[in-house]
């Protein structure tokens, strides 16, 4: 199970089938505060890395969720849509956002590992 992080404070975890699960990090949900709404991407739609794939809103702020790699969305977390607070209570577990195919493995591999991300988010 390979875990990667983006400078936009998202995490990606590689599944056995080669797809990636995407969510926001503990640091991201902490900066946002209580999440009250999420907008998730369309299943079956292809995105390029960096495109806006969704939105996460707390009572005080809204933030875009970016597609971290090129790929096609295979599944979204309907439980999160129904209970956005999962993004706060379990951001790197039950609060995942969507699953996406990994069209370009090199894009995935060059993302930060947990050591690099911890350094990055501590500096932010």
């Amino acid at each position: 199970m390979t875990l990667k992080f983006t400078p936009d404070h998202e995490w990606l975890q590689l599944e056995d089938n080669g797809n990636a699960i995407v969510g926001i990090t503990v640091h991201a949900q902490d900066a946002l505060g209580d999440v009250v709404f999420v907008d998730l991407p369309e299943v079956g739609k292809s995105y390029a890395k960096g495109e806006v794939a969704g939105v996460v809103e707390s009572v005080k702020a809204a933030a875009d969720v970016y597609m971290p790699i090129d790929g096609t969305v295979t599944e979204v977390n309907e439980a999160l849509r129904a209970d956005p607070a999962l993004a706060n209570s379990d951001p790197q577990g039950a609060g995942w956002f969507f699953k996406v195919t990994v069209a370009n493995r090199a894009q995935f591999d060059e993302l930060m590992d947990d050591v690099a991300y911890t350094k990055f988010s501590d500096a932010a």
Binding site: D34, V59, V65
Partner: protein
């Protein structure tokens, strides 16, 4: 996701700065001050705590001033479309400072005291307000800024229980009245001037205290079992559910009291036919707009989204044919009402309760309906 930019500009601090940090507050720049936006409990919990128990807010960034002199009430009345002269000693009122075009420079609270009029204005406007008041009426009364005073707000259904334990007698005040009291913390007696009012829609108090005693007062209040610290984030969601305007968002120097739908703040005595009609900035055009509303003129309304999507400030509002007709000025998912609520401006033709409009959120239509405010019932103590 990206972190909000942090301001490098030198920020002022309030007398409670050390306490905020001790309590683990997340500090943000606001009105030139470093202010707590939330404590570790988080905005939702802080909001709900204020609605059910008592919340303590540091609002020391706000401006406090006194107007002194026999002519102070008449002079101050000339700057606002409200009745100052007939306000009895001990009574508080909401006021609107108008510019020459009739725009709202600031909204404020004032209370008549034995020897002066005590005024509280918004933090972001206080320097301009004081300069304006000084220039306009400084020859008729003394305009005395009070930078030495801090301001705390204690809000919520149990605020009176908590405060009256330390300051017996405050429970006798009714909404929009005030007086001098002494708060006994157990180790010191702190003189304060307080009013039974606030910005949450709940019962509560705003407490003016000398900056050297603000920390001791705040700690004494936080030691009461009902009281928790509340940040500016919850203050905003509380005031929006209560239907109260935020200056700079919902009203500003380009908005008249008529457009802002704040006619309730203009007592009859200052309106057409009243004993002291007019005599405030742009009174001719404002009274004309009240007496014969112009078609197409805009009006502040309450809005509720019919889908569970927060609709934020600057969101475009369209009619059902896709024509842009207005804009949202404040909006969020109301934690108590548990639905997306907003304020915004629409042409008067679209301002009737129940009118359907569409908000355009990230390119998608979110249906909204014009709704009555407050969104959450207010619980003021009227005796």
């Amino acid at each position: 996701m990206s972190d909000a930019p942090t301001s490098a500009a030198a920020l002022q601090t309030t007398p409670l700065n050390a306490l905020h940090r001790e309590l683990g507050a997340r500090m943000v720049p606001f009105a030139g001050y470093s202010m707590p936006v939330q404590y570790p409990a988080g905005l939702m919990a802080e909001h709900q705590h204020t609605r059910t128990a008592a919340g303590l807010f540091d609002v020391s960034h706000m401006g406090q001033l006194r107007l002194v002199g026999a002519d102070a009430a008449a002079a101050f009345e000339g700057l606002m479309p409200v009745d100052v002269i007939d306000l009895a000693v001990g009574k508080q009122r909401y006021g609107l400072l108008l510019n020459e075009a009739g725009g709202i420079m600031d909204d404020l609270m004032f209370i008549r005291r034995e020897a002066d009029i005590f005024v509280v204005v918004n933090g972001a406007c206080k320097v301009a307000d004081i300069a304006h008041i000084q220039a306009a009426i400084g020859t008729r009364c003394e305009v005395i800024p009070m930078p030495e005073m801090a301001l705390l707000a204690l809000q919520g259904p149990q605020a009176v229980t908590a405060l009256s334990r330390l300051a017996p007698g405050v429970e006798k005040l009714v909404f929009m009245t005030g007086g001098h009291f002494v708060v006994n913390t157990g180790t010191q007696s702190i003189p304060v001037f307080l009013t039974r009012s606030g910005y949450t829609g709940e019962d509560g108090f705003e407490i003016s205290v000398h900056h050297t005693q603000a920390d001791a007062l705040a700690r004494a209040l936080l030691a009461q079992p009902e009281v928790k610290p509340i940040g500016l984030g919850a203050r905003n969601s509380l005031r929006l559910e209560a239907g109260l305007c935020l200056h700079g968002n919902d009203i500003d120097a380009g908005t008249t009291p008529v457009e802002a739908n704040l006619l309730w703040a203009m007592q009859k005595v200052r309106r057409t036919g009243g004993a002291r009609a007019g005599g405030f900035p742009a009174s001719d055009s404002i009274l004309a707009a009240i007496d014969s509303p112009a078609p197409g003129s805009r009006k502040r309304v309450g809005l509720v989204a019919l889908e569970r999507v927060p609709v934020r400030e600057h969101t475009v509002l369209q009619d059902l044919n896709g024509n842009t007709i207005g804009e949202v000025t404040s909006g969020l998912l109301g934690p108590t009402v548990d639905k997306p609520v907003a304020m915004g401006y629409l042409p008067v033709e679209f301002a009737a309760l129940g009118t359907r409009v569409n908000a355009i959120v990230r390119g998608k239509i979110v249906p909204m309906e014009v709704a009555a405010m407050p969104f959450n019932p207010t619980h003021y103590f009227r005796g």
